[in-house]
Symmetry: C2
Subunit: 342 residues, 2 copies
């Protein structure tokens, strides 16, 4: 029989139907032979094509030699942009709208066309994280910005068409309803207990152990109790901070190898899967409060989001997180033995 | 500049970013040459293979000749099943779960392997709707069932791997959180106005006119003001009823041609697009109340659900519903002239 589990951070339930499950290694797809080159003449993100993108808003120069290491540009097809005030308009009580004010940026993670994040070095990943943080810190000062979401779409099933490694950032003039409601759940827990829901959840996952993938002095990596999709992975800090914008330089440096190793393990286990990751933070106006914990949610796109999920908001997954986490621990252990570097 | 619009039924906002838009006919994909046959020897849903599926729970015999017209079977890989009581268990306050009690059924819509719904006759579609209703009416009597969702996944991008035309039904032991919260919005509107939110919304769309696709005596077809995806289409009844289970035999017969023509127009306009549809109803315990209106939501899967949508719950669409609705009205008008049957 399947199990229905409640996500303590949203109060939504997910269905875990292992009767239809594959085994962990059945999700591994045939790895594409890496035909793509370090440089593509037609790629707007490759070096030498800087004039074909909108003017950059941030850059990190390469410490050795010339050129850039990371660039941030406005999305050429920005979902949100501009400097107007986000005034609501009503064309009737049921037809409320406002101008699409905000920002939509692209973080070009590397000048090297085929250097996907799971194959980067710790230093390269740290530079990307620095870019995220610099842009969050810049945009949070804009009084019209209520929320900043950083995310990555890797592969076609995850919604990207451009191969050159990049992440995105969207700054919205409203706190999205899903974020608001998740935040309300966290406030409720705080009111009940006097503690951060997410810190309690991380502690409970560490205590339970069965869904842990790895731990460091600063971070915990686990497959959450109510995973939405097979191999959903969270990276959460041990130190309470509500926003990624608040993370110290030391913690960024400590996060880089954890993110790299987590993405690399998924890359090896699943054969370079399409995935999204999301850097979750509290809404800007709530950054100084004690309710929320920033974290990274990685969602491999191994299965399709279909009518049931769209119609009900409930996910059906086919693998227990205990099963996938055990598989990942074994993967990492094997690699540790194999190349001795981890 | 893009527009941000509020969905009055959920209070969530969607971003409509037309800068990145294609024109309506750019979404049309090359139609696959219909190589698939009326019968496939390897298909478990084709006639003669009834023993390879779980025993059927409902059948409509074909009025002419032998055999069946529509069959309903338990899903072989059921997400929910069984007869236990859905008791919550707590492995800690943040790890709540219950057994996956409920039902997960497959409606085999036709014995003909390649007879996709957009190409069916009105009578064939009416039989499918009868099957939906019969199963909703049977399952709603089970006191453990709190909610029944009927949905269809058409095409790989919509999450199906089986070509033989089929829909699905999931009966859950909880009202999904998204449904609860949408329902709360409807209650709020009723408390404010004394009227059904959805009936008001349908009336407002009829009044506005610009997003209408077609109207009949019993139904209104429109692209909603805050569409989540390009060509999102709603079919809503004019008569207030909270659940599809309550629809009269007369209304089912009237719905069949409206659903057929709507699916056929999308099929022609977009080149047999992958799509989901969802038959939304109130939770079982709320069927007798006045807050909700059952309706069909059709979601063509022309674009990917990516990190921003998963992380924020906000959709970014690239086409104004006014644009797509005008295109569909023109399509239907052209066909009316062309074959004279509509």
């Amino acid at each position: 029989m399947s199990i229905i589990r409640q996500d303590a951070t949203t109060k939504a339930w997910v269905i875990i139907a292992t009767e239809r499950a594959k085994r962990p290694h059945d999700f591994k797809k045939a790895m594409a032979t890496h035909a793509s080159a370090t440089y593509e003449a037609s790629c707007p993100f490759c070096p030498g094509h800087e004039m074909s993108t909108p003017p950059e808003v941030w850059r990190l120069s390469h410490p050795q030699g010339t050129g850039w290491a990371v660039r941030v540009i406005p999305n050429k097809f920005a979902a949100l942009a501009g400097a107007a005030e986000p005034q609501r308009r009503e064309a009737g009580p049921l037809f409320r709208e406002m101008d699409g004010v905000g920002a939509h940026e692209v973080i070009i993670e590397t000048p090297v066309h085929n250097r996907v994040m799971p194959l980067m070095t710790d230093v390269e990943i740290e530079r990307v994280l620095q870019a995220y943080q610099a842009r969050v810190q810049a945009l949070r000062t804009d009084p019209r910005v209520r929320y900043v979401l950083i995310f990555k779409n890797h592969g076609e099933q995850a919604g990207t068409s451009l191969e050159h490694p990049h992440s995105q950032l969207v700054a919205t003039p409203i706190a999205p309803l899903q974020v608001r409601r998740t935040y309300e759940v966290a406030i409720g827990h705080y009111d009940d207990t006097g503690r951060c829901l997410y810190c309690d959840l991380v502690a409970a996952e560490v205590e339970a152990g069965v869904r842990l993938v790895r731990q460091t002095a600063d971070f915990v990596v686990f497959h959450p109790f109510a995973s939405h999709v097979p191999f959903e992975t969270w990276i959460a800090p041990r130190r309470h901070q509500s926003s990624f914008g608040q993370v110290s330089r030391h913690e960024l440096a400590a996060l880089a190898p954890v993110l790299r190793e987590t993405l690399r393990a998924l890359y090896d286990a699943l054969g370079n899967p399409d995935f999204n990751y999301i850097v979750h933070s509290a809404p800007i106006e709530d950054e100084s409060k004690h309710y929320y914990l920033w974290h990274i949610q990685i969602l491999p796109r191994l299965t399709m989001i279909a009518g049931f999920e769209l119609g009900s908001g409930m996910f059906i997954t086919t693998m227990l997180p205990e099963t996938s986490a055990a598989f990942m621990r074994e993967m990492i252990g094997q690699e540790m033995t194999h190349d001795g570097t981890r």
